[in-house]
């Protein structure tokens, strides 16, 4: 065995090993385009100068080899093989002017573009992953504070709501089924208004019973209400310093008189 022969053999062996590695690894390829990109690297030229024809031949040879090894290739690899065979014939044969559709050169250019774009994305992905990453190279705040969520409620109403609300109350009055007669009741306010007016006329001590409105002393119910109202009103007037009150003994008459202003 000459050295040349030996070298030739080892070369073949290494080629075969490489080819088989490619085949064994076929599952690792992300589809036919990825395989084409890998094959294109064996041409060792810039993707822009790549020979698509040579690449198509490489791919077809790869598929042939896979067949002899009885490896089952996924359908899309075979579709690509068929397409590349078609492309190869287009590239080799002189263009038929009667034939429609894109030329072989156009198809080849597009495939070259696809390969270049895929490779560009691969490189971009690598650059992206090489960037400083949060939680690996730079870090966020470790001690975070809870932001308390305060829900503030603002209430709103429209003028219409307001008017309807008022109307509702007043209408309720209109339709009140029963109105209690308050004829026999005297309120303290009423009594107070009366007494405030009358007190000026009384010079000396007067029994508060004499302040009852006319006719009220006849009806026991009215008398009771008016007396109570007068008494309460008297206390109020005394508190204001307008009158003085006295009672001789328990259960005797209660008398009031106007209090003279000291500084008057």
């Amino acid at each position: 065995m000459t050295t040349d022969q030996f070298q030739e053999d080892t070369q073949r062996v290494s080629e075969r090993v490489a080819a088989e590695a490619l085949i064994v690894d076929v599952g690792a390829f992300e589809g036919p385009l990825d395989l084409l990109l890998t094959l294109s690297r064996t041409q060792k030229v810039d993707l822009r100068q790549i020979s698509i024809l040579a690449l198509a031949e490489q791919y077809l040879a790869f598929v042939e080899q896979a067949k002899t090894l009885r490896l089952e290739l996924a359908a899309d690899y075979l579709v690509m093989a068929a397409w590349l065979a078609f492309l190869k014939s287009r590239l080799l044969l002189p263009p038929d002017p009667t034939e429609e559709g894109p030329s072989g050169a156009e198809l080849a250019a597009h495939l070259a573009f696809q390969l270049e774009r895929l490779e560009a994305m691969r490189n971009a992905a690598a650059k992206l992953m090489a960037r400083d990453q949060l939680g690996r190279d730079f870090f966020a705040r470790g001690i975070t504070e809870d932001v308390q969520r305060v829900r503030r409620v603002t209430y709103t109403a429209t003028l219409l709501d307001l008017m309807q609300g008022y109307a509702r109350i007043r209408t309720k009055d209109d339709f009140r089924p029963f109105i209690l007669d308050r004829e026999a009741v005297m309120t303290m306010e009423q009594s107070l208004a009366r007494m405030r007016h009358l007190i000026g006329f009384a010079g000396d001590w007067t029994d508060i019973v004499s302040y009852l409105p006319e006719g009220w002393e006849l009806d026991p119910v009215k008398r009771r209400s008016a007396t109570a109202a007068n008494f309460a009103a008297s206390l109020e007037l005394a508190k204001e310093g307008k009158i003085e009150i006295r009672q001789g003994e328990v259960f005797s008459a209660i008398q009031i008189r106007k209090r003279e202003p000291r500084d008057g």
Binding site: A140, Q148, R149, A157, I169, F175, E189
Partner: protein, 216 residues
């Protein structure tokens, strides 16, 4: 500073650099960090204790402070800025019926006492309802009524007028206008008869008195 027994091949980083390191470590760790731990993390020869002094000075008066907790250090929000740690979300809700009615009575009858409001509404007014209106700044406390007990009165505010686009409360449409505008419901609300129970003893004359009283 680099201890004399430090036989490291490298010089300790300059103090400014050590400060940066302390800053970064204290910023990123989830727990306060002790000087020992800082020493362990920082390059050989560093003096975190001194760096901490510088960092503490640097952050004095800032929005975050360097504080010591036990024998460990941590950044913490300045105490006076705690109010920023809340996020307010505003929700708009419709005023309750009780509140609208109370508000309407105040607007139409002001100045009006609580007892008068209750008399007009025919139900007792919960403290909360009036408080809510006061808090909204639609109602405020007016003068005390010069009657026994000197009850406080309620009046509507400028904010109220602004909200409802009124120049003054007298602009509110009267009952007749309400009626002609079809705003008076023709049927009493369900349950109204129960509400107008024995308490509801005032009649129209009374109301007139009341109005006179208010318009004095």
């Amino acid at each position: 500073m680099a201890k004399p027994d430090n036989d490291s091949l490298f010089e300790a980083p300059p103090m400014a650099e050590q400060e940066r390191m302390v800053e970064a470590i204290l910023f990123a760790t989830a727990d306060p960090v002790s000087v020992t731990e800082l020493t362990g993390r920082m390059p050989h020869g560093c003096d975190p204790a001194e760096a901490l002094v510088h960092v503490r000075k640097r952050y004095a008066g800032r929005g975050v402070h360097l504080i010591k907790i036990g024998d460990a250090w941590a950044f913490r929000t300045a105490g006076d800025l705690g109010f920023l740690m809340q996020k307010e979300t505003v929700e708009t809700r419709k005023l309750s019926r009780a509140a609208i009615e109370t508000l309407a009575i105040v607007a139409y009858h002001q100045p009006v006492t609580r007892a008068e409001i209750e008399e007009i509404r025919g139900v007792s007014v919960s403290r909360g309802t009036v408080d809510q209106l006061i808090e909204m700044e639609w109602v405020r406390i007016g003068r005390r009524r010069m009657t026994p007990g000197r009850p406080v009165t309620f009046v509507v505010t400028q904010e109220f007028l602004d909200h409802f686009g009124l120049e003054n409360a007298r602009d509110l449409p009267g009952l007749k206008e309400l009626r002609s505008a079809g705003l008076l419901e023709n049927r009493p609300p369900p349950g109204a008869s129960q509400l107008t129970g024995p308490d509801d003893t005032e009649d129209d004359d009374d109301d007139d008195d009341q109005v006179e009283m208010f318009e004095e």
